[in-house]
Amino acid sequence: MNAGLDTRGDRGLRWCRLRLVVFWGAALGLVAGCGSLFGAGFVDLISPGSATINNSTGHVVLAFVNNAEVDERLVEYLTTTGGLTLTNAERRELRPRVRFRIRVTYSNGNVNSFEFVSGSRKLIDQRFDADAYPDLNQNDLDNTVVLCNVARVELDPSASIEVFVPVELITYQSREIQNQQGGAVLVYQVQGRSAPQFRPLVPDTVDADGNTLLRANIDVRDVPGPVVNPSCGAVVSVVMGGVLRVPFLENVDDDPSFDAADAATIAGIGGRYEFTVGVR
């Protein structure tokens, strides 16, 4: 009698062990799927000549669309005095050359950053071609595809949004002198020249109440904000609108120029832009 009970207990224990093995096997199958049993590393190991690569976890597309335009007066200046030749089609599609860095923080804390560059290459000083790195005349990057899972997408805090000002800017110093009749007259002297170059776009200066103190390149509400936890498979877009513009000091110079004492004009060099960030 006792022996019979013991046998039944042993059998129950064996069933219990078997059920545990099957349960954990099932759990492993659920967590990893069959692919994990024959992953790339495993295939590489047994058959070095036929390496495979794992499926990706899914992607998030980061896209930049440059819808900004170039001020008509600047285009006229470039095509007449500036020596730029544009066909009608090129003129229609003319876009300011813009670059900025996007930083992606993944859910595991690792970070990557890359530079979006977009806009008409014809606006770039062609002499840049020889030395620049990356080559500004060849390198357009307006989308990237990153792996899931992304925790945050934002402008790289260590860099600015920059627009290429395609003309030389002349800085004038104004000073008041008296003419022979005793009246005051403003005279302008050239103080300096800045070559065509990328210039950082600056948000407006505002007070604590949000009132604009100095209007610059971007309204504080139009600065691209961060996107937090975009879902896997999403498309995160930054759409740029606005106009590339340079100042002309009226009645002083027909070339792009400004008065060194005119803070409002200086703040607006490069134009006015707005950025819209979207997730779809």
């Binding site: 059920r19 099957v22 349960f23 099932a26 759990a27 492993l28 199958g29 659920l30 967590v31 990893a32 799927g33 069959c34 692919g35 994990s36 992953g39 390496a51 495979t52 690569i53 794992n54 499926n55 990706s56 976890t57 899914g58 992607h59 597309v61 896209a63 669309v65 819808n67 066909t87 089609a89 229609r92 599609e93 993944y106 859910s107 595991n108 690792n110 970070v111 990557n112 950053s113 890359f114 990356p134 080559d135 060849q138 390198n139 357009d140 990057l141 989308n143 990237t144 595809v145 990153v146 792996l147 899931c148 899972n149 896997c232 498979g233 999403a234 498309v235 877009s237 759409v239 779809r280």
Partner: protein, 239 residues
């Protein structure tokens, strides 16, 4: 057969069923990305026939940050000054070849070591894909940074490495297209002491055909969404 035994058999069948669900079914209570990596079907991994892009991914499996120099060659329609397409005397559309190069920075840590770029291929078909600015053998395919601060992410000087033995992928290859519109091309760089190249790195190319992935996904259709977004951005004066 006792009732107890039937219970045991039922539980066993349930366990086997769960196991099969793990292998072939779509299980939503685990991270979908996790499921996608092992059995797919949740998110697209390649643009596929629904989205006219070629996705080029680069994967850095070395111990250093690196810029991959990815270049494509595409056929571009020749246009006149007003943007109208041009034809030859026989009425054939005139096209010209154009190279496009992008540099993709990768870091030697998971997730940040894998990045891609989408090249539209509807109007201007992509005909060659490779590494190096001019798609020539022997030119630098990647730039490896020697100085790297993991805390700040700042990279310093480095050196270029050629992709020895890695041929440019071509649509017009003698054995048939190496890729078509909708596919994903993956360039993998890894450390290999047998490579004999600078930095002891070696390159491999992989193809993930768009035609082989399912047309319907449990998650969002990433690349179709991107195509629709771009379509929504086309301006009236720039058809």
């Amino acid at each position: 057969m006792s009732t107890d035994r039937w219970y045991r058999i039922g539980r066993g069948l349930l366990a086997v069923g769960l196991c099969l669900a793990g292998c072939g079914g779509t299980v939503t209570f685990f991270n979908p990305s996790f499921i996608n990596a092992f059995q797919g079907g949740y998110y697209p991994i390649t643009p596929g026939p629904e989205a006219a892009f070629v996705l080029v991914r680069v994967v850095n499996e070395t111990a250093d940050p690196a810029d991959f120099i990815v270049t494509i060659e595409r056929m571009v329609i020749v246009e006149d000054g007003d943007g109208n397409p041009q034809y030859d005397d026989d009425g054939n559309l005139l096209t010209t070849k154009e190279l496009q190069t992008v540099r993709l920075r990768t870091f030697p840590v998971a997730l940040a070591n894998d990045i891609g770029v989408l090249f539209p291929c509807a109007e201007s078909p992509v005909i060659r894909i490779g590494l190096g600015e001019n798609l020539l053998a022997g030119e630098p395919a990647a730039f490896i940074y020697e100085d790297y601060n993991p805390q700040t992410g700042v990279v310093g000087g480095g050196y270029g490495v050629a992709a020895e033995g890695l041929n440019t992928l071509s649509y017009f290859a003698a054995s048939g297209p190496n890729f078509v519109c909708g596919d994903t091309v993956v360039f993998r760089m890894f450390t290999s002491t047998a490579s004999g190249s600078a930095g002891n790195v070696k390159f491999q190319a992989f193809l993930q055909p768009g035609s082989e992935q399912p047309g319907v996904f449990a998650g969002p259709s990433t690349f179709v969404n991107y195509a629709q977004f771009l379509q929504s951005q086309v301006r009236e004066d720039n058809p």
